[in-house]
């Protein structure tokens, strides 16, 4: 088997063509090759959830995905959450306003997972949020402020957050 392989994929709306080692993980590809270091590695064995990215609209562990598996995929990372004018995604704003992070290492995975949850279930209960985030470890907050952040978005938004990285207009982030 070839040690390297060409891939073509879209990341945060931009198309990339690269030749990559076949053993390279998607996380390392994003971080080392595209310099998108907002995606974090916490365990490299798929448990902690810090490396979660959106791949073709579904959340995925970028540490367990090979870069070559992402050939042809549409990827969104934390760097791709803001609107074109720089406005934060409502989920980013809610995490900021509700103190939904301390060290911030788990935040990229939490944001991606929470946005996916609200797309599928715009009015989740607290228990729904806890279950949806149960594959993402946070060691600092005890989760409460994270859950409150997600519930704040669910409560306040007239429309659910759009496809992440899509072109759909978002509401401007509000200050409390």
């Amino acid at each position: 088997m070839a040690r390297e392989q060409p891939i073509r994929l879209t990341v945060n709306g931009r198309v990339y063509e690269r030749t990559v080692p076949v053993r390279l993980s998607l996380a390392d590809f994003l971080r080392e090759h595209l310099h998108l270091t907002g995606t974090h590695l916490g365990c490299e064995h798929g448990v902690c959830g810090a490396c979660t990215i959106s791949m073709n609209g579904r959340s995925a562990r970028s540490c367990l995905t090979l870069a070559v598996q992402a050939d042809g995929a549409n990827i969104v990372t934390i760097e791709g959450l803001r609107a074109a004018d720089g406005t934060r995604h409502p989920m980013q704003q809610a995490f900021l306003d509700n103190f939904g992070l301390q060290c911030g290492y788990c935040t990229p995975g939490m944001l991606i997972t929470a946005i996916e949850l609200l797309r599928e279930n715009p009015n989740p209960s607290e228990q729904d949020v806890r279950e949806a985030l149960s594959g993402n470890i946070c060691r600092c907050t005890g989760y409460q402020a994270i859950i409150d952040s997600v519930l704040a978005v669910a409560r306040n938004e007239t429309a659910p957050p759009g496809e992440i990285g899509g072109s759909r207009d978002r509401q401007p982030a509000r200050r409390p």
Partner: protein
């Protein structure tokens, strides 16, 4: 940006949204692994597969021959070139351990570094490490400290008889007489397993050669940058001022990033000798064996009480499995000395005695982790108090009320020689029981019990000594007494204020806290204040972030420095406005007369000061830069009371927390939302400690928990909604602040442990070993046979 709506026009006490979190939510955080320098090499470590073995030979030829490999470093290569780590706990007792950065002729735990491989990329370095051949001669292992302290046990360090890295016996007051005269004596055992901090970001460093003006620049994921600099200088034998240490965004610390470890020092040595930047980032499998562990204690505690249940004396025996080496800087004394010495907690204890020791075993060294020693000290005493209450047929809350140190008795010097003052132990207990509806909880428990359900209620009170000044050691019987930290305030030429300190944040929002304090003290708008806390090239000297000290030291130093800076600003303002300084005030970055008839923006004043100095009398223009060291002398006690309600499934042994109420006294609050996050986060780690987290070794010293699938930390499903209340009273420190980073983990272990034991006691069961895994719960219920 931080357009905070202040409470009562003061920044302190307001939930200011932290600017410092913006890069983290936008994906622009700069953590250690995000740093790359041109031409940087990568380092991987070969680690011991044996718990205890002689190294007969190390053959690196195949590794060196792999394309892309720059060099391979062995322990022998470092002999005579760098100083190994020598660590001794204290002046009383115990042994010294010598830890080579790379093992020389002996390995003492699985995961100990033997070789460092340098390559053009990390994958190649790891490939090469697998090609190194080590000839081991396995030695007998010690995995149980109670066997390790026997005369017949194999020695881990020849210089440490009975494998004692620390041993201390201490007595104060007439303990024997108290036990003789007691109405009741109760004794219990408590065992807490080995755990680790599990920072989501593991350790790592980038060591740069001749970057900027420094021979050596080290970017390191660490809590104590100046301490790292000091030890780099002494161990590499180079001038301290030729070293710069920078701490990037840090993904959790919790004490695990407060020790000195070999790997980062090897990287610094490599950068200097290869004249090239090198990078090492610990992967999770390494982190489980190479970063310090915590706890792992066997405790026996005995209490003598009078007829009313008042404590007369306490006697404890503490045995800690401290692992293979005395952790550098802090030593093996941390857990053994603090567990035994801080056992009395918030209770009046007229006499106490303890025997404590840290026994070396063939496991990863034990180092500092959030609230060192106190959670197990507190939990073992709380469970004992519950048993006293049962025997005396008293309610556990009533028993605690009779023993807590009341405000009117303060200042109160306890048997462990610590002075309690300005702390609301009793109000916290009363508040938490009132908010929880304690009597109703007990009624519901009786109802559940009648329906055959196992419900338990645990109440735990705790004391946490924070912000330790020069008069108080970081732990009883330890020698470390750093006790001071500095802040520099500088008014820049455009009138904005910079705060510099060496007090790194691992998410505690210390920059926001110091900005809030400076805003109130100086009248400068929050948006005009920035803060840098992570760089020895920019900050005045500071010991760093640990032991719930940073808010107290940073804020105290800001208050001190601001007093002088404000005096200078008003003096120059008075000159420029031609009014007496006493008639001036500063509001929203403007110096003004009280009637606002004359105003001078600070920006204008600063510009005049820096650029038109010729027109100003020099005595009125001494420069707007003030450095102040703050020493709070004694520490400040924080405290609280936690109530946990659990349901235990008698079939599966599963424990579910159904209610959690906490009331805490954390002194004057700087930012309530930040404080709440610290407390709730600490409770979550305490719940993990009580129910889930345990590092397991087999009898050959092989670690069995090396992934996050084996080592369970709480997810959002295991942590209930925490109901948090405050009964704060200001401390004697400047600003009335106390630390709040660690206290809650103490209360959480005690409350949950007591709740589980309370539930089991309804079915005649009991539990002494934690975490309370389903297996241990079923053993406690007699469903599974217990080990002898």
């Amino acid at each position: 940006m931080s357009d905070a709506r202040f409470v009562n026009q003061r920044a302190v006490g307001s939930p200011v949204v932290p600017d410092e979190a913006v890069p983290l939510v936008e994906g622009d955080g700069r953590f250690l692994n995000d740093i790359r320098l041109p031409g940087m090499y990568h380092v991987a470590f070969l680690r011991s597969q044996h718990a205890h073995a002689r190294i007969r030979a190390v053959d690196t030829a195949k590794a060196r021959a792999l394309p892309g490999v720059i060099t391979v470093l062995t322990g022998k290569d470092l002999l005579g070139k760098v100083e190994p780590f020598r660590s001794t706990p204290n002046r009383f007792s115990g042994g010294e351990s010598i830890q080579h950065w790379l093992a020389v002729d002996k390995v003492r735990f699985c995961g100990e570094a033997i070789c460092a491989v340098v390559a053009e990329d990390r994958a190649t370095a790891e490939d090469a490490a697998e090609l190194i051949e080590v000839d081991y001669r396995p030695l007998p292992v010690v995995t149980d400290p109670r066997l390790g302290e026997r005369e017949s046990a194999p020695l881990i360090h020849e210089s440490c008889p009975n494998n004692y890295l620390i041993k201390r016996e201490h007595q104060r007051g007439n303990v024997d007489e108290a036990f003789r005269k007691a109405h009741l004596v109760v004794k219990r055992k408590f065992r807490i397993g080995r755990k680790q901090a599990l920072c989501l970001e593991s350790r790592g460093c980038v060591a740069g050669y001749r970057e900027s003006s420094f021979g050596l620049t080290v970017w390191i994921s660490h809590q104590l940058p100046y301490v790292v600099r000091h030890y780099l200088a002494s161990h590499l034998r180079m001038p301290e001022n030729d070293i710069r240490v920078v701490v990037p965004h840090t993904g959790g610390g919790f004490g695990q990033k407060a020790s000195i470890y070999p790997e980062e020092f090897v990287c610094a040595y490599l950068a200097l000798t290869l004249r090239r930047a090198v990078k090492w980032v610990e992967d999770r499998l390494e982190n489980m064996v190479a970063s310090t562990h915590a706890r792992d204690q066997h405790i026996e505690v005995e209490v003598a009480v009078d007829r009313q249940g008042r404590i007369l004396a306490l006697s404890s025996d503490v045995c800690v499995d401290v692992g293979a080496y005395s952790t550098y800087l802090w030593s093996a004394g941390m857990e053994p000395l603090q567990t035994a010495g801080l056992m009395p907690g918030p209770y009046r204890v007229p006499a106490m005695r303890y025997r404590t020791r840290g026994v070396a075993t063939n496991k990863t060294p034990v180092g500092p982790y959030r609230a060192v020693g106190r959670p197990s000290a507190s939990a073992s005493l709380e469970m004992l108090l519950d048993e006293v209450a049962r025997r005396l047929e008293l309610d556990p809350v009533e028993l605690r009320q009779r023993n807590l140190i009341p405000l009117e008795a303060m200042p109160y010097r306890n048997a462990n020689n610590l002075v309690h003052d300005n702390v609301n132990y009793l109000p916290c207990l009363k508040l938490s029981t009132a908010k929880a509806g304690y009597q109703r909880l007990r009624a519901e428990q009786r109802e559940a019990s009648a329906n055959g359900k196992l419900r338990g209620i645990g109440v735990a009170c705790f004391a946490e000594l924070t912000g330790l000044g020069t008069s108080t050691a970081v732990g009883p019987g330890t020698l470390l007494q750093p006790g001071r930290d500095a802040v520099t305030l500088r008014l820049e030429t455009t009138g904005v204020l910079s705060i510099a300190a060496a007090l790194p944040s691992q998410g505690q929002r210390i920059m926001t806290a110091m900005r809030q304090v400076a805003c109130d003290e100086l009248g400068i708008s929050l948006d005009d204040i920035t803060c840098v806390i992570n760089d020895t090239a920019m900050a005045p000297y500071g010991f760093g972030t640990f032991a719930s000290r940073t808010a107290v030291f940073g804020s105290g130093a800001v208050i001190q420095a601001a007093k002088e800076l404000r005096r200078r600003m008003l003096a120059l303002g008075a000159h420029l406005l031609q009014v007496p300084a006493a008639e001036l005030t500063i509001v929203n970055s403007v110096i003004q007369t009280i009637d606002r008839s004359k105003t001078l923006p600070i920006r204008e004043m600063a510009e005049k000061s820096y650029f038109s100095a010729k027109n100003i009398p020099p005595e009125l223009n001494p420069g707007f830069e003030v450095t102040s060291f703050y020493d709070p002398k004694l520490g400040s006690f924080a405290g609280g009371a936690h109530i946990a309600v659990v349901d235990v499934d008698a079939q599966t042994g599963e424990v579910k927390i159904v209610r959690y109420v906490a009331a805490e006294d954390v002194g004057t609050i700087i930012n309530p939302a930040v404080v709440e996050g610290q407390i709730i986060g600490g409770i979550a780690q305490g719940i993990g400690e009580a129910l889930l987290e345990e590092l397991v070794y087999d009898e050959t010293g092989q670690p069995r928990t090396i992934t996050l699938a084996d080592y369970l930390v709480p997810s959002a499903l295991e942590i209930p909604r925490i109901e948090l209340h405050h009964a704060n009273t200001p401390s004697a420190a400047l600003g009335g602040f106390k630390g709040c980073g660690e206290g809650s983990i103490i209360g959480a272990l005690g409350a949950v442990a007591c709740a589980v034991a309370d539930a089991l006691s309804r079915h005649g069961g009991d539990i002494h070993e934690f975490p309370a895994t389903p297996e241990r719960v079923l053993k406690g219920l007699g469903v599974l046979p217990s080990e002898a």
